[in-house]
Each structure stands twice: as structure tokens, then as C-alpha cells.
């Protein structure tokens, strides 16, 4: 009786590892990893890193959370569906590519402005392109993972 109830509960939350140590650990790791992924994304133009790696690191962090707390809670954490991340990322990349069209430059030309900004030094459309890649990678990876995990 008790067992079947527990099974039901697990099925509701999707497949995950019910371990207290992991759950507590992830609670501290998650913000750190997300912060790290931001760092990798932002510094990527000058140091090793970039949107793709950053996105994968962020996706791994969320995946860790999903493994310990269940895909249902991971969805809650992301607030919007991973598919919105994909659409948003693709749109951002496209829009950043279209901006140069308004100043008469070809599609996807980098437009830069500002200087001496900490870490990134100057701000430009390739940065937004990279953020688009970042969001998209998170969306794609989480679409894979969450649909697989919910497939009980």
C-alpha cells in the first residue's frame, strides 16, 4: 500500500533521485553555477567562454536540479517552458542580426558602442547574439532532458 503510494508520488514528480544530500547540495550549487554560466557568457568575447558553453553550464545546473528535485520542480524553476527559451533565443539572435540593417550595414554586421565598461569593455550586437545563443542552448538542452525525464 505504502509502496504504491510512493510510486505514484514519484510518477507525478517524474523520474528523479530522492537524496537529501543531493537536494541540499544543489540548493547551494545552483545559484553558483548559474552565476558561473553568466560569467562564462559575458567574458566570452575576451577570455575562453561564450554563449554556447555558458548555456551548457546553465543547462547542466538546471539538469542537476531536475535530477534531485524532479522535472516538475525544474519547470517551476524555469518559470516559462524551455520552448519559450528556444524561441526567445532565436528571436534575439535574429533581431541582433537585423539591427545593422537600420544603419545600412549588411545583415549580422557587429555594431559597437561604448568603451571602458568593466569586463566586456564595449557593448555591441554580437553580445546580444551570444545571449540569444545562450538562451537557445538552455532551451534546447532542457527540452531534451525534461521531456525524457517526464517520459515515465
Amino acid at each position: 500500500m505504502n509502496q504504491t503510494e510512493e510510486k505514484k508520488k514519484r510518477r507525478k514528480g517524474g523520474r528523479h533521485i530522492a537524496s537529501l544530500n543531493l537536494t541540499v547540495g544543489v540548493r547551494y550549487l545552483l545559484p553558483l553555477l548559474i552565476f558561473l554560466s553568466f560569467d562564462i557568457l559575458i567574458q566570452g568575447h575576451h577570455e575562453p567562454g561564450g554563449g554556447f558553453v555558458g548555456g551548457i553550464v546553465a543547462a547542466s545546473a538546471i539538469a542537476l536540479y531536475a535530477l534531485s528535485c524532479g522535472p516538475h520542480n525544474a519547470r517551476k524553476l524555469m518559470r516559462v517552458s524551455p520552448r519559450i527559451f528556444i524561441a526567445g533565443g532565436l528571436t534575439l539572435a535574429l533581431v541582433s542580426g537585423c539591427i545593422p540593417l537600420f544603419v545600412g550595414a549588411p545583415f549580422l554586421t557587429g555594431i559597437w558602442g561604448g568603451s571602458d565598461i568593466p569586463v566586456i569593455q564595449s557593448i555591441g550586437t554580437p553580445l546580444f547574439f551570444d545571449i540569444g545563443v545562450y538562451l537557445l542552448v538552455i532551451g534546447v538542452m532542457m527540452t531534451f532532458l525534461l521531456t525524457l525525464m517526464e517520459d515515465v
Binding site: 568575447h45 551548457i56 533565443g89 547574439f129 545563443v133 537557445l136 517526464e150
Partner: protein, 755 residues
Amino acid sequence: MAIKSMKPDRTTPLFGWLLSLIAWGFFFWLARFIRPVASGKTFLFSFSWAPSIGVDLSFYIDGLSLIFALLISGIGGLIFIYAGSYLSGKPLRGRFFLFLIAFMLSMLGLVMADNLILLFGFWELTSITSFFLIGFDHEKEESRSSAMQALIVTGAGGLCLLAGAILLAMVGGTPSLSELMTRGEMVRSHGLYLPILILILIGAATKSAQFPFHFWLPNAMAAPTPVSAYLHSATMVKAGVYLAARVNPILGTTPQWEYLVTGMGFVTMIIAAYLVLISSDLKRILAYSTVAALGLFMMLIGMGTAVALKAMILYLMAHAFYKAALFMIAGIIYHETGIRDAQGLGGLWRIMPITGIAALLALLSKSGIPPFVTFIGKEMVFEATLDSALSLLLTAGVFFVSVSFVVAAFLVGFGPFFKKMPDYGKKIHEVSFSFWIGPMVLSVLGIFWGIFNDRTGRWFVSPAASAIFGDEVNVHLALWHGVDIKLLLSGAAILLGILLYALWGRPFRRMIGWGEDRRWFGPEWGYGMLLDFIRMLSRWGGRILQNGLLHYYILFVIIGAIGIIGLPLLELNIKSLFLKGQSGTFYEIGLVIILLAGILQVVFSGSRIISIVGLGVVGYGMALLFLLFSAPDLAMTQFAIETLSVILLVLVILHIPRLTHHSSRLSRRVDAFFALSIGALITILVLMTAGLPEMGSVGSYFAENSYIKAHGRNVVNVILVDFRSFDTLGEITVLSVAAMGVYSLLRLRQEEKKR
């Protein structure tokens, strides 16, 4: 989600009126060109688009494109108003209008494009938008297959057109139509003239439903009536006629042109006129009579004399007015009664007199009775055929077509209104103003341009005919030429048509032959056979290549790669690659040993989990190698990817049964052989790259300009988001499509499980 949006749209017919403003905007903008164009001017608007491949956004306005553009935007405006009522309260109306507007814009682009490749682009856009419009009732099998048929036939023609256009641009030395028109002699005397001619004519014939491609048009009547009225009478099907007319100064006047175009038009016209007589569905009758009219236009273009071209333009105008009107009237009848069969209709005159008046006017116009512009047009057509070399044959053909037009006009415009009223089983009302205004305006225009025929000639016929003819054509239209053979022929055709209509019905149709349903020979049968054959072939190929066993998929990919990349390498002196004795450091050799151990574990372990761990070892080992050779970006990505893919694989593994060896020894040996071969191939390729100079010119360019031009010190990232960002954009698009694929496949399985 799809079901939610199926709820009926509650907007009023005002919606159609509002959207028609788009069409009116174009119409009035174009109308300003009428006078300058009539005085012999032409306009060229050009914007640079892709100059490297010779494609510019260039639009050309002369007499020919102007009259088409005016018809498209003007009739478009009326159709929007009509469609607003026709689809009132139906679901997905917004989507319908989106496609309709997209179609109108592509059609306008098509008739005004000056660049051949641009013309092709718009040509394809009209095919695609018409696919969506024909298949608008996507829940009906008939709509879907008709839409597919129209797309396949016109799409295949489109490809021929593309080939012809490229050849023409090569031979003529420019893709610009307005420039090619001055180089006609050069193209006509070139060796590739005949292939160009045939390819372009196939394109025109599929679009304008010429025999043997005519069958898609009657089937396309599965579309909602506003679509039939717009696409399949007034605009899209005339695109082929437009194309033939447009290239006449370039490709025309040769004997090949005359035989092919005239012959094609003549055969189409006769067959379609016959099919009109044996059909009874209102929309099919109109569709076949449209095919006949298109054949007539083609024939006139093929004849290529000044009077034939004048007749073509005049008749084309008249046809657009009355045919769109008749289609809209057929739609009104169907909308109110739910019946489309001419035999089941009658007595509507007393119920809907206004629609009746519009129908009567359209009927008179189609029959070619003065003072309608059609009358002048028909007189002129007879004049052209009587002048030609084959006068007897062509005149007889046109006479037969005229008779069939009269029958069609009476079947649609007379029968439903004046025959005995059947029991409809429900109350029928006169339709609203926005419903009948379209056909009424068009019918009245038919009289208007007939009476003010002087303006018609000066403003439209003369500039357009001159553009096709390639030289000044003078036009003097008149309603009355005195009693001559043309008038007698016209009169006789009308009388004979009325007589045939009176006889029309079961006995008459049985008398003149086989019904429509007998189709076991002819082009449509051929189309069906071809399609079945392709389906069979793909099923057969699918069974072999895509048999659901991942193992085979990978095997085929590997064999393909070895075949394509490996075979040319056979001539290579492989020994020379190895001779550069390279030694490794302690770390490098250690890493390689770890990698090899990982691979052995993957291959020989008996458990999937252990294999995955082995794969992980290989992946992380590779990342360390990247690190050793100072590629931190690669190493970082590899580490991250490796972590994620181990998680992914573990999740996937939970779904598949335990590892058992169900493959035979032989097949495992074959696998081993191919695995080793692809490994060897990759090794050779890597060695070959290692033999290349340290950094090519591209590499040093990136390294030098990364900070100066792209404000970034990390060359790898700069390449990804700036220098090669277009590639990245493509890659992330592929990624998202893959994600959607995985999502929908897994979701589908989950839905199935739930059931």
C-alpha cells in the same frame, strides 16, 4: 491549442472592407501610372538586393505589367470585401486573409518583377500561398489532395521556369527582362533557344492550366469560392499567360514559338470547351471555361500578330471582369442554398433579385453581347483568326469555344435564377450589400469599358499590346463595324449556345459522350500513376534505409562517408603522412592510453552503464587533449557537453531493454570492419590537415582582426558570433528544429501511452 482557435470568428463583414484598403492603396498608386504609360513611358524601380548573384529587387512598369497589376489589386479589393461576408462567422478567418494578402502581394510582385530570378521567386510564392488557400478547409481530404496536386504541378513547372530563366539570363547576358527585350535577336539565334523556349513554356503551361496540365485547376475548386474567384479566374492562372506575353519580344515570332504556343493554346481551348459542356457542378463549369479562355489567350499570343495581341488583352480584361463576377455569384448561390450542381438549382430570381441582376449582366458579358467589352473582344478574336494562315481551323475552334462559353454563362447565370424552383428545404434570403457589391461592380465595369471603348483602347489595350508586340500598336475600338462575317459568327455562336443550353440536361449529356467520372486515361490518370509510383518507391526505400534500427542508419552513414571521402584518398601516398616522426610527451602518451582503454571498455563491456562511463572517459580525455594543445575554449565546451550527454544517455537508457547480443558474429565483424575503416579515414584526414601550413590566410586574418574589427580578444568566440555568425545562426536554427523534433516524438509516445 489548435482546437481552441477553431472557434468561430465574431468579427463583422467590416473586416473585409478594412483589409480591402490595402488593395485599394495599391490600385490607386498604380492608377497614377495609366496616363504616363499610355503616352509610351516605362518605369523601372531598382533596389540592390544580392548583387553578387545578379538578383536585384527591380520592378518594371509598362503597359503589360500595369494592366495585370491593376486587375490584381482592383479585383483583389472587391474579393476582400466579398470574402469578409463569405467567411463571416467561419473559423480561422484571420489566417485566410493573411494568405490572401500574401498571395496578392506575390502576384503584384510577379507581374512587376524585372529581374528573372525575382520573377521566379514571386512565381513560387504564388504557388505556395495558393497551396494554403486551396487547402484552407484542411480537415477535408479532398481539399488537402487538391492543394497538393496544384502545388506539385505548378511547383514542377516552376522548376522548369527556373532552369529556363537561368539559361535565358546566361544566353542574354543579363537577368533583366527590360534589357533582354532589346536583345531578342541574340537569344533567338542562340543554340540554346529551343531548350529555353520549352522550359519557360512548361512553366507557363502548368501555371495557366494548359493541356496536359489542366487537371489541377478544376480540382482546385475545393478552395473557398473567394479563392476560386480571385486566384483561379482573375489572377494566378493568368500568370502563365503573362509570362508568355512578357517573353514574346524575346522568344517570340519564330516558327517554333508559333507552333508550340498556338498549338498548346488551341488544344487546351477545345478540350476545355468540351469539358464545360459535360460538367454540372457550377464551379467546375466555370473552371473549365476558364481553362478554355486561358487556352484562347495562349493561342492568340502564339499567333503574335498585332491584332491577335490586341484581341488577347481586350478579352483578358473582359474575362477577368465577368469570370470573377460569375464565380462570386456561384459562391453566393452555394453559400445560401448549399448546392453547387446546376441541375438542382432554380427560381432564385424572386428571392435574390439584386444578385440576379448582377448574374444577368455577367451572363450577357460572358456571352459576348453588345455593348459589353467582351463583344468587341470576341469580334477582334475572330478578326485575328480569320487573318491567320490556318484561318478555317482556328476560326472554327474559336466558334466552338464561344458556343461553350454561352452555355456555361447560361448554366451559371440563368438556370439557378429562372428555372423552376426546387424544394430547398430551408428559407433563403437575399444576400447583404457587401456580398453582392463585388460581382455587381465587375459586371457594370464590363459595360462601362465597352461603351467608353475609346479610353479602353488608349489607356489599356494599346500600351499592353505594344509591350507584348515590341513595337507600337495602334488601337481603334468600336462597337459597330457594320454587318460582316465576324458579327454573323458572334451572333450564330450566341444562338447556338442558347439552343444547346435549352437541350442541356441528361439526354444531351448522354448523347455527347462520356461523363466526367471516367478518367482512366488522360493526364490526371498519368499524374496519379506517377504519384503512386513515387510513393511506392519511397516506401520501398524507406523499408530498406529507414528500417527503425539505429544500427543500420549509422552503418549507412559510415559507408556513405567512406565511399564519398575515402575513395579519392586511395590514390594518396599514405606512408608519406606517417614519415614525419613525431614524438609525444609523457602526458600525451598517457592520455592516449587512457583514451584507448576507454574505447575498449565501450566496445567490450556487457552493460550499457559501463559503456556510457567508457564514453565519458573518452570524451573527457579528448577535452584534456584540447587543453594540452592550448585550445581552452574547445576543452571547456567538450567538458560541458560531455557532462550533459552522460546525463542524457543515462536518461535514455532507462527506456531501453537490457543489452543482449542479438546480432550474429558475422554482422558484428562487418560492423567492426566499418568502424575501423571510418577510424582510419578520420586518422588520415587529421594527418593530412597536420601537414598543412600552420595557419592559412583565413586563420591569420581572423587572428589579426579579431580585436581591431570585432572588439574581442577571444578569436574563437569572435568567429562564432561575428565573423561567421551566419553559420552560427544556421546551427542554432538546426538545434531548435531538432529540439522540436525530439519534443514532438516523445510527446506523441506519451499521448499514445495515455490512451
